[in-house]
């Protein structure tokens, strides 16, 4: 029981379609776990299950030792401590970048407006969005929007950050600026679970890589091992196609 997040026997299905099957995963503090695999292999669904956005069909999810898959657990209490960033940014278009970043700290975490704004300004400036603080998200480029979404998630000071293919909707030249933030957070010790197609990045920052195939974690281990010497034939095929 050393993990911050511990998953065992997790199963999720939509009707007859089994999307996740017998998933076991341990995320220790300061881990950066990269989920790789083809589209439809269940990476996003797994992240959504961890955040209790999906009701699971079996298995147990523990967060800081407590079972959060218990129906009696208030999902909002859990989500307060887990940050999530989506592929499509999902910034609120009617709020300025600053208001996007201070909404949850103020309304959910009860932080004062001035403290929340000071923190958001500091983070936005650090990540190169200083001149866009008062603009509305639609005025920003995709990369800037995704960076703002990352800052929005960081502003709640989460224990774990879940990143769902956050660079998949971006132009190649914008991917770097987003991954830079992730890299910085990883170096600062933030615990993260990310679904990604950026293999080079996964290799660089991950402490653990999980290869998902048809709803199962086929193989997991340190990046050096998975990328250089995978055990499974399916992993080898997948890596040959994407590398």
């Amino acid at each position: 029981m050393t993990g911050l997040l511990e998953v065992s026997g997790l199963r999720k299905s939509y009707g007859d379609r089994v999307v996740l099957d017998d998933i076991a995963l341990t995320v220790a503090p300061h881990d950066v776990v990269c989920l790789i695999g083809a589209s439809g292999s269940g990476k996003s669904t797994l992240l959504r299950c961890l955040n209790l956005l999906e009701e699971i069909d079996d298995g147990v999810i523990r967060f800081e030792g407590r079972e959060i898959s218990d129906p009696l657990v208030d999902p909002r209490e859990v989500r307060k401590q887990i940050g999530m960033v989506f592929q499509a940014y999902n910034l609120f278009p009617h709020l300025s970048v600053l208001d996007n970043c201070t909404l949850a700290p103020r309304r959910v975490h009860g932080i004062s407006q001035s403290a929340a704004e000071a923190q958001a300004r500091e983070l936005l400036t650090r990540f190169g969005l200083g001149e866009h603080i008062d603009q509305h998200p639609d005025r920003l480029s995709g990369g800037q929007q995704q960076r703002a979404a990352l800052v929005r998630a960081l502003c709640t000071r989460p224990q774990v950050l879940l990143l769902d293919e956050i660079t998949a909707a971006l132009d190649p030249e914008l991917v770097g600026e987003v991954l830079e933030i992730v890299r910085a957070e990883a170096a600062a010790g933030m615990t993260m679970v990310l679904a990604t197609h950026e293999m080079a990045f996964a290799r660089e920052v991950a402490t653990k890589v999980c290869f998902l195939d048809q709803g199962r974690i086929l193989e997991q281990g340190p990046p050096a091992e998975i990328f250089s010497d995978p055990r499974e034939e399916r992993t080898r095929q997948f890596l040959r196609r994407v590398l």
């Binding site: 007859d16 099957d21 996003s44 069909d57 079996d58 147990v60 898959s69 009696l72 499509a88």
Partner: protein
């Protein structure tokens, strides 16, 4: 995949979920019953309840006046059904005129704006009075002097202006990229509107449109003020010689019975549209 059996923990969890669901059903029932009971007790225990009951809820009077009021209601229903068709056509035409871009259509656009400004601003009841009494007084040749018809025209003009704005908001809510891709395929602007924009817009504004039609169903009662013998007129007639207001309650009940099915359809359409939008969104 049939080899999977739910684990003991999962079965336990399902048990908990079931009991949580049972509890919320129980709460919903208890709260609903309590609120309605409180309203009923509050009404019946008020000091004037006995008088109110005999003047507003007299079963004998209700039975007696029911057929005459129902006869009158047919006028409302016919009026509603006929007006609805004209309103839809007029509303869409005005909305299209307002969104037209061609310089040749500028006068039409100006007219459309004037029409909406004017008829949305005048209270419907005044329109019914002005047209119902005013046009027959002109004694124009070749035009009917039937006040029923002119009251209907007043409703069409008034609701046409509202519905035009509903359609316009729907048309403008369709993303410009849709028009661009239609143009890129070589469609003319008229064709783009006809085949791409309007079908999407209509689907999107169906719930507010139905909302306006529920409102129209009720407002057909306004024709009674120019002496058309509709349900409300019949009810007022009866209250006059029976000295009892029960006919008003009867006619109100009939209007409710008429609007509820449409209201449910509106809800259902709204839910369906929402479910469809949510389906694709993460």
């Amino acid at each position: 995949m049939s080899t999977w059996q739910p684990s003991a923990r999962e079965l336990e969890r399902r048990q908990v979920r079931r009991s949580l669901r049972r509890r919320s059903v129980l709460i919903a029932t208890a709260v609903t019953v309590a609120v309605f009971a409180a309203v009923a007790v509050g009404l019946t225990s008020s000091p004037g309840w006995a008088t109110v009951r005999s003047t507003f809820f007299d079963a004998g009077v209700a039975r007696e006046t029911f057929p005459a009021i129902l006869d009158g209601l047919w006028i409302n229903i016919k009026l509603f059904l006929i007006c609805e068709v004209f309103i839809l056509v007029l509303g869409l035409a005005v909305a299209l005129a307002r969104t037209a871009r061609s310089p040749w259509l500028t006068p039409v656009r100006v007219l459309a704006v004037l029409y909406v400004d004017l008829f949305r601003g005048v209270p419907t009841v005044l329109l019914v009075l002005l047209l119902g009494f005013g046009v027959p007084a002109l004694e124009l040749q070749g035009l009917t002097n039937d006040r029923y018809v002119w009251a209907g025209v007043a409703l069409v003009l008034s609701y046409g202006a509202y519905v035009a704005e509903v359609f316009r908001s729907g048309i403008e809510s369709i993303h410009p990229s849709q028009l661009n891709s239609a143009s890129a395929l070589g469609l003319s602007r008229a064709q783009s509107m006809r085949f791409v924009v309007v079908p999407q817009a209509v689907r999107r504004v169906a719930p507010p449109l139905l909302n306006d039609f529920i409102s129209l169903q009720k407002d057909t009662a306004l024709v009674s003020i120019v002496g058309v013998f509709d349900a409300v007129f019949a009810a007022r007639d009866s209250t006059g010689y029976l000295f009892n207001y029960t006919p008003y309650v009867v006619v109100a009940a009939m209007f409710i019975a008429m609007t509820i099915p449409l209201a449910r359809v509106t809800d259902w359409l709204g839910r369906r549209a929402l479910a469809r939008e949510r389906a694709g969104a993460l």
